[in-house]
Amino acid sequence: MATFHTHHPPEDCLNCEHRHLRMFCNLTPEALQDFDAVGIMMNHARGARLFSEGDTARNVFIICFGQVKISSTSRDGKTMILKIAGPGDVMGLSAVLANVPHEVTAEAIEPCQVKTIRKQEFIDFLGRHGIASMHAAQSLSSEYLTVFHDAKRLALSGSAAGRLARLLLDWGRSAANGRPDIKFTMALTHEEVANMAGTSRETVTRLLNQFRRDGWITIKGTSVTIVEPAQLERLTA
């Protein structure tokens, strides 16, 4: 989850102050110089669709700042949100490298800056730099575990409160990045959160209010702070 959108967006990869925090972009000086020269930096408004499920995979996308909703849609137009991608996440990597159409749809849920690199340009870049292909492998590995983790969150937590608590903890810990305060920006609507937690919008609203009344979380606008993570953990058990 993004907490970086209050910072100035990076103008290029060489001067990006967040680079050392990001898995893929934290490259050697030589690889970074080359990485800076490939692709283009693009700004996307909230709601912009970066790619759709079934589209031919022509580009790889690396999020510099902002959040992107990754979802899949059924024949009758129902949407399932798989995850929220944030700064440093690489999108479209599996489809580009496996040479298959995009498995999912990516849509900006807040203004985003995304580095977009053409498929062949990206593959050539990986071929030139061993460290970049190593980071690509780490990104794929992380994506692999995330996909399964999201599926299991729904399958394993018996109650709606437990599933919502697990979701909040995942987002909070991901944004905290090891810092003690567990705080994140929730750019999703209650309807979308309900979709991820496998429950109804009304239940999400009721549970968030209950967590807040109990002093387990605080909510200011879109900013959510988890005050009592142990209490939320207890619900997920």
Binding site: M134, H149, A155
Partner: protein, 166 residues
């Protein structure tokens, strides 16, 4: 069960697993390095071949038997599926940061071939496309994971009526 659009799409786009001969297609010199360095490991049912977070020794190819991949993430235990003879395991660790991303345990008695990291590194240096072959296979595995999870989740949510209209 009704067919979902995504299932149909995924049916068309699912990335098939590459045969080992194609995956390990490289120059005779590289093949000689890999063959000379490979080690055979015998397992009994219940044995763990390696554990999550352990340092990865190399790439494993299942020769016989059934194995299961398990991972723990933020206190959630995940079963990532089974692997059988002819499959390659731990591409992510061998190509990535060198630590196992999951635990591999034997479900039945079986055996594996271990291609040590040092031999893989030599092979990558002599023949760089080999690394890309393996990275592409890892990408196929992720793509297949999306298929498995999307179909599973959609079926479950449909039964429970949790999908929301756009």
């Amino acid at each position: 069960m009704r067919t979902l659009e995504s299932e149909t799409q995924f049916g068309q786009i699912t990335a098939a697993r590459r045969p080992l001969t194609e995956l390990f297609a490289c120059t005779p010199a590289v093949q000689a390095i890999l063959s000379a360095a490979s080690q055979r490991i015998e397992c009994s049912a219940g044995d763990a071949v390696f554990h999550q977070h352990e340092v990865c020794r190399g790439l494993y190819v299942i020769a016989s038997g059934d194995f299961v991949r398990k991972a723990v993430r933020m206190k959630t235990h995940l079963k990532l599926g089974s692997v059988r003879a002819g499959e390659v395991v731990e591409l992510a660790a061998a190509l990535g940061d060198g630590r196992h991303t999951y635990t591999l345990s034997a479900l039945t008695a079986g055996s594996l071939l271990l291609l040590p990291l040092s031999a893989l590194q030599k092979a990558f240096a002599i023949y760089p496309p080999f690394r890309m072959h393996l990275l592409e296979e890892l990408a196929r595995e992720v793509s297949r994971a999306y298929l498995t999870c999307c179909i599973g989740q959609m079926s479950r949510r449909r039964r429970r009526g949790f999908l929301t209209a756009e």
